[in-house]
């Protein structure tokens, strides 16, 4: 394999089709940027879930003397009812820990954060005592909820996941949207690459014709074209990665993270983790598209 020959062929090819090469680079960079954005949103989704899952707990509220509904037959939860609820929770294999919160503690927690006039008119008796339950696997909340929901003395079982559900669903939709757009872009990039390589093959048909005639192997004839596409793909992917870094820096690190501290945000190191995949995707798409094109246009 004569390395110098291959290099000079690539340089010639890239120069001859400069406009198309630029088009390929731009398309690849956009599709890689979108693909990277999709991955970023996915990582964000994971980070958000990870952050919240540690904090997600089930609250089992018990009846007080004012309670209506639920299994409150009348009046406050009795000691035996409370013990039975606690035992049920502690025996359940999905339950990691159970904390008891008395009415007084609930009152403290309620009045602590806000200097609210409402706090003046209620007293601990108005609030409910509760069990706060941490789960082994936050996804498995159903079983725990159903195990205690029917017990006497339970007014209500509250699962925090229900609050976070819409957020997660929104993130999922963002993710799907970004991936779909990326796929469309990848198709466009593939077609553009195919066209560029076809032009390159056409403009060098004299050389390739002679190469075929004197018995150069297909691999040798096609290699400069495939590398040409791969190089354009690589440049495009690098630009795409840069765009993802910029997005992370501007949108996440500067805009979102300082203002919304209720969750963890994707960091630059998350983007670094994606870089190899993004580069690989860009290069492989380009090389593969040109390979398929050449199979049609540079047959033996």
């Amino acid at each position: 394999m004569r390395f110098q020959y291959v290099l000079s062929e690539i340089a010639t090819g890239l120069r001859r089709n400069l406009t198309m090469t630029v088009a390929v680079i731009i398309t690849v960079s956009i599709s890689i940027a979108l693909f990277g954005t999709g991955l970023l949103i996915r990582a964000q989704s994971e980070a958000t879930k990870g952050y919240w899952y540690d904090k997600v707990e089930i609250s089992v509220f018990m009846c007080n003397e004012y309670s209506r509904g639920g299994n409150c037959g009348g009046g406050e939860v009795t000691d035996s009812e409370r013990e039975r609820i606690q035992a049920t929770l502690e025996d359940h294999r999905e339950v990691a820990e159970v904390f008891y919160e008395s009415q007084e503690e609930a009152y403290e927690r309620f009045t602590e954060p806000l200097d609210d006039p409402v706090a003046d008119v209620i007293n601990p008796d108005h609030l409910q005592e509760a069990f706060r339950v941490a789960l082994v696997d936050p996804d498995e909340y159903d079983g725990v909820v159903s195990a205690v929901a029917g017990l006497p003395g339970v007014q209500n079982v509250h699962d925090q996941r229900e609050v976070l559900g819409p957020l997660f669903r929104l993130l999922d939709w963002f993710q799907v949207g970004a991936i779909v757009i990326a796929v469309i872009q990848v198709v466009a990039a593939t077609l553009l690459i195919a066209n560029t390589i076809r032009l390159a093959a056409f403009s060098r048909r004299r050389e390739t014709g002679i190469m075929r005639l004197v018995g150069a192997s297909n691999f040798y004839i096609q290699l400069p074209f495939i590398l040409e596409a791969a190089i354009a793909g690589l440049i495009g992917s690098i630009l795409g990665c840069a765009a993802v870094f910029a997005l992370q820096e501007v949108a996440v690190s500067r805009l979102l993270a300082p203002n919304f501290t209720f969750t963890e945000w994707v960091s630059q190191s998350d983007v670094w983790m994606m870089v190899p995949w993004l580069l690989l995707t860009g290069v492989i798409i380009s090389a593969f598209a040109s390979f398929l094109t050449l199979r049609r246009y540079l047959r033996v």
Partner: protein
């Protein structure tokens, strides 16, 4: 060296067959003229030998290989044993004489040392010593064809195919090219040449195979052109 057994080639876009049940054999070291009017199947014959086309039916053996059984990835190796020369020379205009000939060796992965050794030798053989740094457009037609012959022969092929190599040349220059092909033939290389050039065929007195409508109509050793256009 080249053997056709009942070979028929039909192009999908044409009505009649380009070759019609052609059976013939060219021995090692032979010099053969293929004559016949345009469209008689001469070029198809050459393309079939190179496996640029596949026959519709029949068997072809070239250099001991059954082309039907030769897998696609081995076709380049077949072509390394066949040199080809065309009417239009097909030189690369942006490469010098030396580079044009060297190109044929470069692209089959020969070493720099081998190129430095073989290219001057073959340029000497075709009578172009001293012109290796010229560009093709600085050469006469005859000289350009010599470059093409050098390129075809530099890898010492078993077979040299020539498709009307003198078609663009004046008679005096053509004689020079024919002498060159004759010299190459004398090194043991089988030469098959398609031509319309009556005077050359008549002068050379080599085997003549005449095709018409893809059929073999005459196979004559030490023959003449034999028909008028």
């Amino acid at each position: 060296m080249i053997r056709f057994d009942n070979v028929t080639k039909v192009y999908p876009t044409q009505s009649g067959p380009a070759l019609d049940s052609l059976t013939m054999e060219v021995e090692r070291g032979e010099f053969v003229f293929l004559v016949g009017p345009s469209g008689s199947g001469k070029s198809t014959f050459l393309r079939l030998v190179l496996k640029e086309e596949r026959p519709t039916s029949g068997r072809i053996r070239v250099a001991g290989k059954d082309l039907h059984r030769l897998s696609n990835w081995k076709v380049p190796h077949l072509r390394r044993r066949i040199g080809t020369v065309f009417q239009d020379f097909r030189l690369l205009p942006n490469k010098t004489v030396f580079e044009n000939v060297a190109f044929a060796l470069q692209v089959i992965g020969k070493s720099r040392r081998q190129i430095q050794r073989d290219v001057p030798a073959v340029l000497d053989l075709v009578g172009l010593d001293g012109k290796q740094d010229r560009m093709p457009d600085q050469l006469s037609g005859g000289e350009q064809q010599r470059v093409a012959v050098a390129r075809a022969f530099v890898n010492r092929p078993l077979i040299l195919l020539a498709d009307e190599p003198t078609g663009n040349l004046d008679p005096a220059t053509s004689v020079g090219i024919m002498k060159l092909l004759d010299r190459i033939n004398r090194t043991g290389t089988t030469v098959a040449m398609a031509t319309h050039d009556q005077s050359i065929v008549d002068q050379m007195r080599k085997r003549v195979i005449q095709l018409e409508h893809g059929k073999l109509v005459r196979d004559q050793s030490r023959g003449v052109y034999g028909y008028t256009r």
